[in-house]
């Protein structure tokens, strides 16, 4: 009971961060649980084009008279899955390569850093734009993999620098003197001191993945498939929804969904910083 209350106090310690957390939870629930409650409206209704929000159509209707709200509910899953997968992939690569680079040193280090340097030089978005045509991205997992595989270098460098400085810290030296083993040193001494950094960067990697995937879909470089916010955005755009007063809800709904989700993620990072800091954990 007491620990529950402490956890709650810790979570609410940073107001902005807590709101971010609530936002993230909201979007996750909406994207994954929502579709079971809100059926997707696919019926064209010529008499109901561009209706304003009402009790039946919470966010109004689109260019074919379909409910926008149901599309928003159904359109989150792909975006979230890609963001999460891509974030995990790039962060994992970065943590593994960064640590390896720092701990192995020598030739391995040189090779990884040279590779990172080259990948950083390649203009990311244009490369993605070309790759988008190379492999057909109707496969969410593949999209996530490509996004993740291209976005590791910056974080790898940062992780390497962190590990290098942590490795020289006196408590790590003491652990070596105590012969606690490499596994203990990496998992118990070095990693816990980078956890907040890694978690925050995971979130940043997710936001970058959202930026790229929605952007690619929006430009029409990823073949349309299924329903997601990016596709909605692209359709709204190509149907000229920006130019009419009454199509405002059509174009703005996906924009707002993406923007609010990004904002929630970014705000959430503030809380992460504190969750992993023992100084704060013990003072609340």
């Amino acid at each position: 009971m007491e620990s529950l209350r402490r956890t709650f106090r810790l979570l609410t310690y940073n107001k902005v961060g807590f709101i971010g957390l609530l936002g993230v939870i909201f979007f996750v629930l909406m994207a994954f649980v929502g579709p079971y409650f809100v059926p997707l409206d696919t019926k064209t209704k010529v008499d109901k084009i561009y209706e304003p929000p009402s009790k039946t159509f919470w966010l109004g209707t689109d260019s074919e008279g379909r409910d926008i709200f149901s599309q928003i509910v159904h359109g989150g899953k792909d975006v979230l899955v890609v963001a999460f997968l891509a974030g995990i992939i790039s962060t994992t690569i970065a943590v593994v390569l960064g640590s390896l680079s720092a701990l192995a040193g020598g030739g391995v280090d040189g090779l990884i850093m040279a590779l990172a340097d080259i990948v950083l030089t390649i203009p990311q978005f244009p490369l993605l734009a070309v790759l988008a045509g190379l492999v057909k991205f109707n496969n969410v997992t593949l999209l996530a993999v490509i996004l993740g595989v291209l976005s590791w270098p910056a974080l790898t460098r940062a992780i390497r620098a962190q590990v290098l400085s942590l490795r020289e810290r006196e408590f790590v030296e003491a652990a070596r003197a105590l012969d606690l083993g490499t596994k203990h040193i990496i998992l118990k001494e070095i990693l816990p001191n980078m956890m907040s950094y890694i978690a925050i960067n995971l979130i940043f990697a997710m936001t970058a993945a959202i930026y790229a995937q929605v952007g690619l879909v929006f430009l029409g470089l990823v073949p349309f498939s299924g329903h997601n916010w990016g596709v909605m955005l692209s359709l709204a755009w190509t149907r000229g929804a920006i130019f009419f007063k009454d199509s405002l809800w059509y174009i703005m709904s996906p924009v707002a969904a993406i923007a609010l989700f990004q904002l929630s993620l970014i705000s959430f990072t503030r809380l992460l910083e504190e969750i992993f800091n023992p100084r704060l954990r013990t003072s609340v």
């Binding site: 003491a174 003197a177 105590l178 083993g181 001191n193 023992p278 100084r279």
Partner: protein, 335 residues
């Protein structure tokens, strides 16, 4: 000093340590350093920053492998020995760091810090046993009642308390040799003495030997009165011998300069001290160590042609001290 029969515990033989500072340049931080410490003995390394005392400490503790030369533990060269011997050495020698704020992992509680080595090396068979041993360790380092400290994170402790946890951690594997690298210099004077007394007590009770590294000769004198002091300058030992001799009758001009330069917490003594005047205030860079005796550009007794030619070797001086100075050599010859 009744350490006649005491066994030699740890020794460095002609140790050289070089670090790469850039693609091309290496800097020689230690140059031909040799010393040995017997069981239960205290050897104090003193010198100014950059003289190589911390590097010597890390080499003694097995945290750095020397570029050349040998480190021997109970007579065995540890870097060529088999795994079992190295492990014995690794556990037999522990280190206490200077900065009590950097030497404890901020994400671990005192209990985690102290029980990890106990469990890893099967000194405690299970968590409960480890818990009991942690309590004992905390009592040993005067953190009483231990229950108050065991659940704390390092940031919840004062500097002195943290340093005691560091010492307790070093004791988990029951070492025979402790490297204390400026272990008290960051603490306030009012708690410094109690830490020194704790280290002394460990030596009396457990027979721990010390390599005590400090820049403060007064602390060295207090802690190592029954032991020896080695004075280092630019990567070399310039003088080594029993503490009272070094403090009261220093042979090397550098040691004399240090002793005369140190202000003391005694107005009369400090104001009436004889000063040694150096010829230069600048400390040479390790990238560009002077030829011959590296102290010669600053030495008040500098003799051209002698001091800037050959590097002086350590040799026995009159009072049981070993000193690396050409002039002392000559005096002896003349005497």
């Amino acid at each position: 000093m009744s350490t006649q029969e005491a066994q030699e515990l740890l020794s460095l033989h002609h140790v050289v340590m070089e670090f790469k500072v850039s693609r091309r340049a290496t800097v020689r931080v230690l140059d031909d350093v040799s010393f040995s410490v017997k069981e239960g003995e205290i050897l104090c390394l003193v010198g100014e920053s950059g003289c190589g005392k911390t590097t010597s400490g890390k080499i003694a503790a097995g945290l750095l492998q020397p570029t050349s030369g040998e480190v021997r533990f109970r007579g065995q060269n540890v870097w060529t020995a088999d795994k079992a011997t190295f492990r014995q050495y690794r556990r037999g020698v522990q280190i206490i760091h200077q900065d009590p704020y950097a030497s404890l992992n901020p994400t671990q509680r005192v209990e985690d810090i102290l029980s990890a080595p106990l469990l890893r090396h099967k000194i405690a068979r299970n968590r409960r046993e480890a818990h009991q041993q942690v309590l004992d360790l905390l009592r040993t380092v005067d953190l009483t009642p231990p229950e108050d400290f065991i659940k704390k994170y390092p940031h919840q402790l004062s500097g002195g308390q943290r340093q005691r946890v560091s010492i307790a951690r070093a004791l988990t594997l029951r070492p025979q040799f402790l490297v204390a690298d400026e272990a008290v210099s960051m603490l306030d004077v009012s708690i410094r003495v109690s830490l020194l007394q704790l280290l002394e007590r460990l030596r009396d009770q457990m027979g721990v030997a010390y390599l005590f590294i400090t820049h403060d000769l007064a602390v060295a004198k207090y802690f190592a009165w029954e032991g020896r002091i080695a004075v280092m300058y630019l990567g070399r030992i310039v003088e080594i011998g029993p503490t009272p001799q070094i403090i009261n009758n220093p042979q090397h001009p550098y040691t004399r300069a240090l002793l005369s330069a140190l202000p003391e917490a005694d107005p009369k003594a400090t104001r009436s001290k004889q000063r040694v005047h150096l010829r230069s205030l600048d400390v040479p860079s390790l990238l560009n160590v002077p030829r011959g005796c590296s102290f010669h550009p600053r030495c008040p007794l500098f003799e051209e042609g002698l001091c800037d030619g050959k590097v002086p070797e350590l040799h026995a001086a009159s009072n049981g001290v070993q000193v690396a100075c050409h002039l002392n050599e000559n005096e002896k010859v003349a005497a």
